[in-house]
Symmetry: C2
């Protein structure tokens, strides 16, 4: 074995020490007081909650919709009024899909004398259904669909897979079910199905459809797809057990239009040392249209704005430039995230860290970081400073759909609030301002702002 | 300095090692799986939530009320049906107070042409108010009351102190305000007031009174006391600013009756080694009567029952005897806790630990332990085993009003769920089953059951 020259060893040691010092916080007691004051200010003033009320009052925010533009204008003006140093719109072409005004699903069984209306909602991206009538075949997996392939042609496939409650992190159950919503239509059409109904994905029984994006495959016929509420899904399943010949009459007049121009909304608070680069705080401003996207992702947008503006409200001068990014089109294309990621690469804008809030406005628990274990372990030394904003862990994990598009950003970070109630409201008519608790929302802003403060101090 | 004989030193060292091993968990991976299975079972079956629905359907549970006895009978039968080895009632004399059916507070200002009804609720223990009419003096502290002592005689004192939002633990703000509700009447009567109105103590603006217990002092005249909703308190304050001569006409027909017989409900699962002693899991079955005490403390009762019965449902045989105790009369006297504490002392029943759940059925965060720091530090070694039931900390702190009555129990432990929404519902008409999320409730049962399992293993 060759020995390294002594100056190389020294350099290695030095770099090790420098790296190890990433998250050394000097004068920690003072910093702790300061971070606590961020939390207390947010909780006392509840400015984020008041903003969220205004945003939700504007209506729904599907990419390319009229009210999505009103939300963009509102957000830009709000950031200007709050005193961001720079606010601008970043153009981005987005897909356009309209729900229409007809969503109807009638279940009929002659022997059972049943004629009932099921609560359904078109999945985002689906084509219309014009008086589609057919028998229903219920399946509980793609494997079952495949095994009954010969029985599918001319029928409506009903994917009836209940939410798995056996997890303390509801996102993991959601993750397992998402493929049926996204790919169900294409998989069923492969065997000649004429439409699909997908059991909604909430963690509680209710009578509202929980919608979301679906996709087609180029080579496979497009068939219409809708979500059916969990209680209606149970009813449909029960009727099918008693009468397998029961029929459904299905109508919806949603439609896909050509791509259109929309915008990311970006606001900046200039740092005292611009050479240090940019710290991003982000959410997505588009939302599904059954509710008003209060949790998904109005809450995240308020977190992104408030976490930055709290610096101004508390007279803190960040060394790095802080940037609020409200991405357009996370729900059905991530075109906003794509455009932003491309622009920072082509403009060579130095980004040091990017935080995303897209898991609702619930009580904070921690952060996940898309990075090596050693760096995460060093970040964990920050935890004692964040106990008053309810941050208990920093661990390895995905940062989020939007910031995940950025490459070469050293720290990609996801905000993680409690997830127990998220899928009660997610993508449904339940996702409205009344489902948001002001204190829970504000603790989220405080947590993200505190982390920004610590990253600004340490990096 | 004298030197200790060598065998004494050895004994000291040995005892140190034994103590240090209090919380050594052997075969931790297997234990972790087992604890996870407790969590997943609770979340999947949601038995505690189903029980809570039944309990709340029985009505209100003020000590000594008709429906409190129905709840006692229900709880005893429920524990028998679930398969506790022994279930019994422990007699306890409780104070008895009835709300009556008149609660009325009319605000009148001739110059402002105002005649409005304010939402009020009698405080527990208050005497009736029979057509009490008077001008109102608003104060924001006992100090202000004292400084304006000469202005109080013949008037109604209005304690208008808003909830302090500047804390991430809402109990600390509640703690600061409790004295006005409990002592306000006695302090105001000292200076000749004829009644008191107390601004309700919730963390959100609403139109329902949040009630709770109040007390009189022997030597001071008893005057009636009621809580006024926060929105009505703001209105009253606004009117008083514009017309300090505005009057209130106040009626309520609540009354105190003589003490009556009631019961703690106790259930036991016998341990495989009864010499080891007893581990208690507890809540209180009485509740204020504006809602149905779903969070306070129906949730705690379900935690106490379910945390023990999960052992049976999962085929676990505890070494210690596990005991569910549902205390009567926490809200206005703690007579149940007193009787229980006395009985275990007089019967020399060896208790090793007692856990109390009386902070609602929200997502768990941690446990507080009323014990020396060194022991708590040792307990913290259990934390990695409880991450799936959302337990992030074990720290020094009070265990609870009920278990706090027990002396000589080595571990007194309080269950701490997230507190952001607790005072939105607390002691009000909002505290009903609809305010409880099944998954949040069940995670609490799982957390307490997991801790019982670890205590049973380690102690």
């Amino acid at each position: 074995m060759r020995t390294l020259p002594i100056f190389v060893v020294s350099l290695l040691l030095l770099s090790e020490i420098l790296v190890a010092q990433d998250f050394v916080v000097r004068d920690a007691a003072t910093k702790k007081n300061l971070i606590d004051s961020i939390t207390f200010y947010a909780l006392e003033h509840q400015n984020g909650y008041q903003m969220l009320k205004e945003l939700c009052a504007l209506g729904t925010r599907v990419s390319g919709s009229k009210s999505s533009y009103e939300s963009i204008v509102w957000a830009k003006k709000k950031m200007e009024d709050l005193g961001f140093d720079k606010v601008w719109l970043q153009p981005v072409k987005v897909p356009r899909w309209e729900r229409g005004n007809i969503e109807s699903c009638i279940l009929r069984s002659k022997p059972l004398k049943v004629k009932e209306s099921l609560h359904v909602g078109a999945l985002g991206g689906s084509i219309a259904a014009n008086n589609i009538t057919g028998k229903v075949i219920e399946v509980s997996s793609f494997e079952e669909l495949q095994s009954r392939a010969n029985d599918v042609a001319g029928k409506i496939v009903f994917f009836n897979i209940p939410f798995d409650q056996k997890t303390s992190v509801t996102f993991s159950s959601y993750g397992k079910l998402g493929k049926y919503r996204y790919l169900g239509a294409a998989e069923a059409a492969r065997y000649g199905a004429i439409a699909v109904l997908i059991r909604s994905l909430p963690s509680r029984l209710d009578t509202v459809p929980h919608v979301g994006v679906m996709g087609y495959r180029d080579s496979i016929k497009q068939i219409p797809a809708a979500a059916v509420s969990t209680i209606d899904a149970n009813r449909l399943s029960e009727i099918l057990k008693r009468d397998p010949e029961a029929e459904v009459l299905f109508n919806q007049n949603c439609r896909n239009l050509s791509d259109t121009l929309s915008y990311n909304v970006i606001g900046e608070m200039t740092g005292t040392d611009t050479s240090l680069g940019i710290l991003v705080s982000s959410g997505h401003i588009d939302a599904w249209d059954k509710g008003t996207g209060a949790h998904d992702d109005g809450a995240g947008c308020m977190h992104a704005i408030e976490s930055v503006i709290l610096f101004k409200q508390l007279g803190l001068k960040p060394r790095h430039t802080l940037r609020t990014v409200l991405f357009m089109n996370e729900e059905n294309g991530s075109r906003g995230a794509e455009a932003y990621a491309k622009s920072i690469d082509s403009d060579k804008q130095k980004h040091v860290a990017a935080i995303e809030s897209d898991r609702g406005g619930f009580t904070p628990l921690g952060f996940t970081v898309d990075k090596d274990s050693a760096s995460i372990q060093r970040m964990q030394s920050l935890l004692p400073l964040m106990e008053n904003c309810n941050i208990f862990y920093i661990k390895k994990g995905g940062a989020g759909v939007d910031v995940g598009r950025m490459k070469n950003v050293p720290y990609l970070i996801g905000f993680v609030p409690d997830s127990q109630r998220y899928f009660d409201v997610h993508h449904s008519g339940n996702d409205i301002i009344d489902a948001v608790n002001p204190r829970e929302l504000e603790l989220g802003s405080a947590a993200i702002s505190s982390l920004l403060y610590l990253l600004d101090t340490c990096l």
